[in-house]
Symmetry: C2
Subunit: 510 residues, 2 copies
């Protein structure tokens, strides 16, 4: 009986405390409004650390991570815990965070996020998500039109890797519908083609989808990072000769490192010649759909059977926001992915069930990812994002110029990048030599510079820029600076970035 | 030049307006604090509609969904738009929303969500997500221990369908590591087994993973909805005789419709006998890990090679929060899913890269789903959630009693459900007959009742309870009431639910 009494007391206490518990939201919202949470005021970037970095062991000492059976903190203690978590986290909306393919948040996107979280809906039926379903449909239709698809279909998913998988699964279904029921056993190997600079999600997907990474053929790239069409054609012919069945070609529109755009029209010619599905991984570069000036980077997109785009990268939409689009008709997406789960997607409803999206998706419950993006577009119109991505690209070209102006200290990986990525090496004072002294050993040593400066960046908290090697070109580590719609940078900020790398570069031991 | 001037003007305007744009958050937060957004005050449920339902065409007229190139609304207009979206959306945190396997939000979970959205991190490296990476590791370790795994491993993903796929992919990798590179071509069919009442995600996964739905064998269930072990054994033997290679058995802990728990120990015996991987889909029922009273529903879980759990269902964690856990050692999860993308997961970093989670995941960018759950556990201790799920189960048993007390008007599908689902038919006045008059035609007619009452529910906005058929038992539509940790219901509320179904039931024409 004692246990039972404890139980009812606990339940009553929780129930009676619930209305008060909601006050936690006010406290947390105040934390979010503090300047040092977002660090979005350019005036203050110089004084605010992007992250007060601690090594894992130290951080574990600083924040009490342990989860226990019994806890009874006050609201003030919970607020303090939240404050610590925020304090030691990376401020990705700090204007000097350029470490990933995403940057600062658009406030309208975050406003949309807050609503989505609070409404806690799920995108499978119109019944549970009436407004959000219509919004998803509207965005799929708008983006389809921008892509040049007449009656495009599509779905939002948790990220670019999944959106690319949607393309592969749909292509496979069209190529061999029997895979859906019988599987791939006994088939000649299905082979896909994507460049050696494309995203690793195709290799991961080849594993998951049962194709095997050996059947994900890496096509060579040219010196600008674009897929070589001659090699694509050659690899397709080779694969057939080996007894494989080519079914899928991926073009990348905005590679991860160089931001290179493959020639979609050229790849479409090859794909058509061999009867293959053409997919475009525009997860990064899809933003130029909204631009007049740079839209031509995606020339030929309307010929692709499908593409993926992550508005959560360049555009400042909060994570996660990824779209898969296809120009295929006759409900191909739904026929491919439906499991006839009539116990969930009842057909005897009192509304038009064609608004239920569950049968198109590989997920069941699905987070509402469309609304925050829609709210941004309603708040600014998509034209402004076109201008913002144009500006990011302009600033990248300007950064290249600035790098060139410091040619004794910096070296560009490409003289002209296509998108808003700018890749370069920094040459510390002690390594500045004449051109002929740049031996292979010198280069090997140069490749160790970026990681060491990165360590300095993190500890100083003043700037975060990523670095990367590029195996396909035999390049070791260099910096990859990525500009995004937000922050809306000025020319002076680009000087700061180079100055800061120089400043930190003199602190390292090489 | 004109275009260029327009462009700079636009960019300057956006940049200069950005600090003001952040004010949208204050407006939106005020909207979220309005009582009619969440409807969490039990005193007011009677006066608040869960949704003011409109058919799609009408809703499209009410909200201006169109996205255009040029927009210039005031903050007040944006706020009004948000208000409309909220107004016409389903209030899933209304205490009378029982339509899905999730219910009202826990305020601490929502507080965590707001922070996650604002910090806009991504879970791939410690570098970008120092605190959030440690929190994910901590939760994986805690839940592993609760499951009886010694050194469990795991990962958060976008939902239960993906978490179940992780189990299938990992099982396949252990069974035949060569699939990762060579694919499944030329192999004898790989076969998996799951009950005919299990979630449809296994069928969808069989399609995606290239196994084919024919190789996802449906095992018969007993009258309580549990997988029949004799049929499991027989189906495994049959599959082998047909030339297939069994590799994976799924047990469900909390089926979607009846909330049935399969006998994990019994299935483990069968799986061990045949050398098969045992996975447990505990997406729904995993909540009893936190309970003393009901933990035994998961007896044998420690023998499973892996399991999936969605804290976003019963527990009140905001969508999305799903965990995949495995007891396999030697970095099996990482070896299975890594793509050696050293250009993103550099090994020459200045911290212990074992904290980077990217190689375990099939995703690249990955939303921070662990923090909100962790904050809940820090705020209440996991023991309180154990009490809350016990209470939800107690209330479900009480609801069964109440249904039995109205046996002339209601009929239980099961006399005793195992979890917090309660399934029942309502018999409208015009259909009340003696037992012997309950002909097959009478039953067919009864199956049309739930959808019609559901329509009334939605239009009245007073209550939302789902309905479902159960093909494996040849049952037509019945109501499926699901209780969750929140709202913390009282007995009177259960009376309301039955009263309201009766009230609405008299409005329908059958």
């Amino acid at each position: 009986m004692a246990a039972s009494k404890d139980h009812s007391t606990t339940i009553n206490e929780i129930r009676d405390g619930l209305m008060d518990d909601w006050n936690v939201l006010e406290n947390v919202f105040r934390l979010l409004q503090r300047e040092d949470t977002f660090c979005m005021d350019p005036e203050k970037w110089g004084q605010q650390k992007i992250v007060p970095f601690l090594q894992p062991d130290k951080l574990k000492e600083r924040i009490n991570l342990k989860v226990r059976e019994t806890e009874n903190p006050s609201l003030a203690e919970i607020e303090k815990l939240c404050q610590e978590v925020i304090h030691y986290s990376v401020k990705t909306s700090h204007g000097r965070f350029h470490n990933q393919l995403f940057g600062q948040l658009d406030p309208f996107g975050l406003a949309g996020s807050l609503i989505t979280e609070a409404m806690n809906g799920s995108s499978y039926t119109y019944e549970v998500a009436p407004v959000f379903s219509l919004i998803e449909t509207e965005l799929i239709s708008t983006v389809s039109q921008l892509a040049g698809y007449k009656n495009g279909d599509g779905i939002f998913g948790p990220g670019g890797s999944t959106s690319n998988m949607y393309g592969m699964v749909l292509a496979r279904y069209k190529f061999a519908p029997s895979v859906k029921t019988a599987g791939m056993f006994g088939m000649k190997p299905l082979v896909l083609f994507t460049s050696d600079q494309s995203h690793y999600s195709f290799v991961k997907a080849a594993n998951w989808l049962g194709l095997g990474s050996d059947n994900c053929v890496a096509v060579k790239t040219n010196e600008r990072g674009q897929m070589r069409l001659d090699d694509l054609e050659a690899k397709i012919v080779e694969a057939k000769a080996r007894g494989g069945q080519p079914f899928f070609v991926n073009c990348t529109a905005g590679t991860t490192v160089l931001g290179a755009f493959d020639d979609i029209n050229g790849a479409a010619d090859v794909a058509e010649r061999h009867g293959l599905w053409l997919h475009v991984d525009a997860c990064l570069g899809g933003a130029v759909l909204l631009s007049h000036k740079n839209r031509s980077l995606l020339a030929g997109l309307e010929r692709a059977n499908s593409f993926a785009w992550n508005p959560h990268k360049s555009l400042g939409v909060p994570m996660q926001c990824s779209m898969f689009l296809t120009r295929e008709q006759d409900r191909l997406l739904e026929r491919c992915n439906s499991a006839e789960a009539h116990y969930l997607f009842q057909q005897d409803k009192f509304y038009d069930v064609s608004y239920d999206t569950g049968n198109k998706s590989v997920q069941c419950g699905r987070k509402i990812d469309a609304f925050k993006f829609w709210l941004m577009l309603k708040a600014r119109g998509y034209g402004k994002y076109g201008h913002l991505i144009d500006h990011a690209i302009d600033m990248s070209r300007l950064l290249e110029d600035k790098v060139r102006q410091r040619s004794d200290r910096f070296r560009l990986v490409l003289q002209r990048h296509e998108y808003s990525n700018v890749c370069f090496w920094y040459i510390p004072k002690a390594m500045r030599v004449s051109k002929k002294e740049e031996t292979p050993e010198w280069w090997e040593r140069l490749y160790t510079v970026a990681p060491k400066i990165k360590e300095q960046m993190i500890y100083s908290g003043s700037l975060m820029v990523g670095y990367s090697p590029l195996k396909s070109q035999n390049f070791g580590n260099f910096f990859r600076m990525v500009l995004t719609c937000f922050p809306v940078l000025k020319s002076e900020e680009l000087d700061f970035i180079l100055d800061e790398i120089e400043r930190l570069g003199e602190k390292i031991v090489i």
